[in-house]
C-alpha cells in the first residue's frame, strides 16, 4: 500500500512537469495550418535567415572541432600547472548568460573600444557582421563539444593508451590511431550539440548581429523580430523549423551516446 502511494505521488509530480513541456509545444503546433506554414517559406527574407543561420552554425561547428578537440585532449590526458583554472575557464561559457557574452563581444569589437577601432581602421568589421555572429556562437556553443569530447577521451581505458606507447607508438600516433577512433562517437555527439546550440542561440547573437535582414538576421533573430512586430505566422514557421532541427539533433545525440557505451565498456 505504502509503495503504491509513493509511486502514485512520484508519477503525479513528474506528470506536472511533462504537462509543462507538452502544452506549449501543442499550442505551437496547432497555432497555424500546414498550408499557411508552407507559404511562409516562400518569403525571401525567411529563406535568407535560414541560409545565414546554417552558414554561421556550421562554421561554428568546424571551428569548435579544430580548436575544441585539442583542448579536450589536453584536459583529458595531461597534467600541468593551472589545469584547474583552464578547466573552469572552459566551463564558464556554459554557465554564463549568453546575453552577457554578447555584451562583452560588443564592448570588445565595437567602434568605441580601442581594439574595435584598430580593426575597423584596417577595414575589418567584426561587429554587425557574420564573423561577429560566428564568434558569439562559438563562445557560447563551443564548450559543449569540448565537454563531450573530453568525456569520451576520459572514458578510454588508460591501459590501452599505455599499451600503445609500450608498443613503441609516438604520442601523435596513439592520438590518431587509438584515441580519435575510440572517442569518435563522443566527438560526433559534441558536434551535434554544438550545432543545435549555435543554431538556436539568441542572446549573444542579438547583441552583436544588429538584425540587418538579409545580412545578419539569423533564424532566432527573425523569430523575435516577427513576433515583436506581430507577424506571428512567420515567427511560428521559423520556430517549427528550429524545433524539427533540435529534435533531430537530440535523437542523433542520444543514439550516438547509446552506441558509444558498449564500445568504451568493451575491454
Amino acid at each position: 500500500m505504502r509503495n503504491l502511494l509513493f509511486n502514485l505521488m512520484i508519477s503525479m509530480l513528474s506528470g506536472i512537469f511533462i504537462c509543462l513541456i507538452l502544452f506549449p509545444l501543442f499550442a505551437l503546433f496547432t497555432a497555424t495550418s500546414w498550408s499557411e506554414l508552407a507559404g511562409q517559406f516562400k518569403s525571401p527574407l525567411i529563406v535568407s535567415a535560414i541560409i545565414i543561420s546554417f552558414q554561421t552554425s556550421l562554421t561554428v561547428v568546424l571551428a569548435a572541432l579544430v580548436l575544441g578537440v585539442p583542448m579536450a585532449y589536453l584536459l583529458a590526458t595531461k597534467k600541468f600547472p593551472g589545469k584547474e583554472i583552464l578547466d573552469t575557464l572552459v566551463d564558464l561559457p556554459i554557465c554564463m548568460p549568453p546575453l552577457v557574452v554578447g555584451l562583452a563581444l560588443l564592448l570588445l569589437l565595437g567602434g568605441e573600444s580601442k581594439f574595435g577601432a584598430f580593426l575597423s581602421g584596417r577595414g575589418v568589421d567584426l561587429i554587425f557582421s557574420r564573423p561577429g555572429i560566428i564568434m558569439a556562437q562559438l563562445f557560447v556553443a563551443g564548450p559543449f563539444l569540448i565537454k563531450s569530447s573530453r568525456q569520451a577521451f576520459e572514458a578510454i581505458n588508460e591501459n590501452v593508451t599505455k599499451a600503445s606507447s609500450s608498443l613503441g607508438a609516438s604520442e601523435f600516433h596513439t592520438f590518431r590511431k587509438v584515441l580519435l577512433p575510440l572517442a569518435r562517437n563522443g566527438i560526433y555527439a559534441g558536434m551535434v550539440m554544438t550545432w543545435a546550440r549555435a543554431l538556436g542561440e539568441f542572446g549573444a547573437t542579438s547583441m552583436v548581429a544588429g538584425c540587418i535582414p538579409g545580412k545578419t538576421e539569423t533564424m532566432t533573430l527573425a523569430i523575435f523580430g516577427y513576433a515583436m512586430s506581430g507577424e506571428m505566422g512567420s515567427s511560428i514557421a521559423i520556430a517549427m523549423l528550429l524545433i524539427v532541427f533540435s529534435f533531430t539533433s537530440l535523437l542523433v545525440f542520444k543514439s550516438r551516446i547509446r552506441k558509444q557505451l558498449p564500445s568504451t565498456q568493451r575491454i
Binding site: 599505455k162 599499451a163 606507447s165 609500450s166 608498443l167 587509438v178 575510440l182 558498449p262 568493451r266 575491454i267
Partner: protein
C-alpha cells in the same frame, strides 16, 4: 637480457609505494613478483616498462641504463592485467599494431602474423573484435601482440587473475612453453602463491613497497624469512619463542604466544647465531605435523605435545585440522587416509625439531657443516623440553 633495479623509490601524493627497491633478474630467468594487492607490484612493473617514472633510482636492462628512455625504446613487452586490447581493432590489427608502428611492410606483417596465428590457433578469430573473444583468447592476443615486436624482456602483470581455473591451467602451460622456447627474461606478477610456486625460477615477495625475500620457490616455501612471507605462503603457525638453552645441534625454545595459558618448551635445530635469552619467531609447516591417538605410545625422538582437536575442514584429499594447545591454535594438514580422530578428541602432536624454522632472515640459514644432520635428536636435552603434561 638481465634486468636490474637500483634503489627505486616512488610515492603517490606523499604516500610511498615503492621504497628503495633493488632487484636483479638474470637473463632468461622466469621471475615471479608475488605480493598482496596494493603492495606496489603494478607500479614496479610500470617503472620497468617506462610508463611510470620513478622518483629516484635507475632501471638497467642488459646493463644499459634505460631510466630516461621512453617506453617504446626499452624493448620491454608488457601484458596488462585487463589485457588492454584495442577495442576498435580486430585480432589481426591488434597484433599487427606494434609492427605497423615500426613501419614494417604489410606483406611482411601478413606473413609474420600468419605464422603466429596458426601456431596459437587464433587463425579463425583473426577478424573478430576483442569484445567477442573469451578471456583466454584475449590473453593470447595480448601476449602475441607483445611477442611479435620481439622484446628483450617480457613483463606480465597478473595475466591470469580474470581467467577461470580451467583456462588458467592452459594459459599457464602455454606460458611455460613460450618461456622454454624463447628464453625471454620474464617478470610475472601475481598475488596467487600457487601460481608463483608453479611458474617461478625465483620469487620476490613484495610487501608494502619493500621486497621481503628473493628466493627459489623451494627455499621460499620451506625457509621463509619473515612472518609476512611465512603467512603468505600458507604457513599459519607462528610461534613466539625465547631461546632457553642450546647445544651443538639443538636449541630449546620457550614458546610464549599471546593467549597461551602456560609457556611450554620445544626443541629446534640450533643455529650458530642463537643466543640464550634471545627472542625469536618460529614457523611450523602445517604439513610437517603428525597426529597420533592419545593412548598410543609412540616416540619419534622429536617434539611431542598434547592438544585437543578443535576443528576439521575438508580440502580435497586432505583435512585442515586446528589443534588447541592450551590456548594456542596450531594448524595441521593431514592426509585423509591418516586421519582417524574425532573433533574434541585429545591427541599427541608430533613434529621433528627441524620442522621449526626461525624467521630471522639470512643469518638463520643453516651453516654448511650441519646441512646433513637433520633429525638427529640429542639425548642430553630431552629432559628439558618434554611437555607431555
Amino acid at each position: 637480457m638481465d634486468i636490474a633495479l637500483r634503489q627505486i623509490s616512488k610515492s603517490y601524493d606523499g604516500r610511498p609505494v615503492l621504497e628503495n627497491l633493488d632487484l636483479d633478474v638474470a637473463a632468461g630467468e622466469f621471475h615471479v613478483l608475488l605480493g598482496p594487492s596494493g603492495g606496489g607490484k603494478t607500479t614496479m612493473v610500470s617503472v620497468i616498462a617506462g610508463l611510470t617514472k620513478a622518483d629516484i633510482g635507475s632501471v638497467l636492462i642488459g646493463g644499459r641504463d634505460v631510466s630516461l628512455l621512453p617506453p617504446g625504446r626499452r624493448k620491454v613487452g608488457l601484458v596488462f592485467q585487463d589485457y588492454a586490447l584495442f577495442p576498435h581493432l580486430d585480432v589481426f590489427d591488434n597484433i599487427a599494431y606494434g609492427l605497423r608502428v615500426r613501419k614494417l611492410r604489410e606483406a611482411k606483417i601478413a606473413q609474420k602474423l600468419k605464422y603466429y596465428l596458426e601456431k596459437t590457433g587464433l587463425e579463425k578469430e583473426k577478424h573478430t573484435f576483442p569484445h567477442q573473444l573469451s578471456g583466454g583468447q584475449k590473453q593470447r592476443v595480448a601476449l602475441l601482440r607483445t611477442l611479435v615486436t620481439e622484446p628483450e624482456v617480457l613483463l606480465l602483470d597478473e595475466p591470469m587473475s580474470s581467467l577461470d581455473v580451467l583456462t588458467r591451467e592452459q594459459i599457464s602451460a602455454e606460458l611455460v612453453n613460450i618461456h622454454r622456447k624463447t628464453e625471454l627474461t620474464t617478470i610475472y606478477v601475481t598475488h596467487n602463491q600457487a601460481e608463483a610456486f608453479s611458474l617461478g625460477d625465483r620469487i620476490s615477495v613484495l610487501h608494502n613497497g619493500k621486497i621481503e625475500q628473493i628466493e627459489t620457490p623451494e627455499e621460499l616455501f620451506y625457509h621463509p624469512k619473515t612472518e609476512f612471507v611465512a603467512r603468505f605462503v600458507g604457513i599459519n603457525n607462528i610461534l613466539k619463542a625465547k631461546v632457553a638453552a642450546t647445544n651443538r645441534y639443538e636449541a630449546v625454545m620457550e614458546i610464549n604466544n599471546e593467549g597461551l595459558s602456560q609457556a611450554f618448551m620445544l626443541r629446534a635445530k640450533n643455529y650458530p647465531v642463537f643466543k640464550k635469552g634471545e627472542e625469536i619467531n618460529l614457523c611450523l609447516h602445517p604439513e610437517k605435523i603428525d597426529l597420533s591417538k592419545k593412548n598410543e605410545a609412540r616416540d619419534n625422538g622429536g617434539n611431542r605435545i598434547c592438544g585437543k582437536i578443535a576443528e576439521r575442514t575438508n580440502h580435497g584429499n586432505v583435512f585442515k585440522v586446528t589443534i588447541d594447545i592450551g590456548g594456542l591454535a596450531l594448524h595441521a594438514v593431514i592426509p585423509k587416509s591418516l586421519f582417524n580422530f574425532q573433533v574434541y578428541e585429545d591427541v599427541w602432536v608430533d613434529f621433528a625439531p627441524d620442522a621449526l624454522h626461525p624467521l630471522c632472515g639470512r643469518r638463520c640459514r643453516e651453516p654448511e657443516f650441519s646441512r646433513k644432520c637433520h633429525n638427529i635428536s640429542s639425548p642430553e636435552l630431552v629432559g628439558v623440553c618434554r611437555t607431555d603434561a
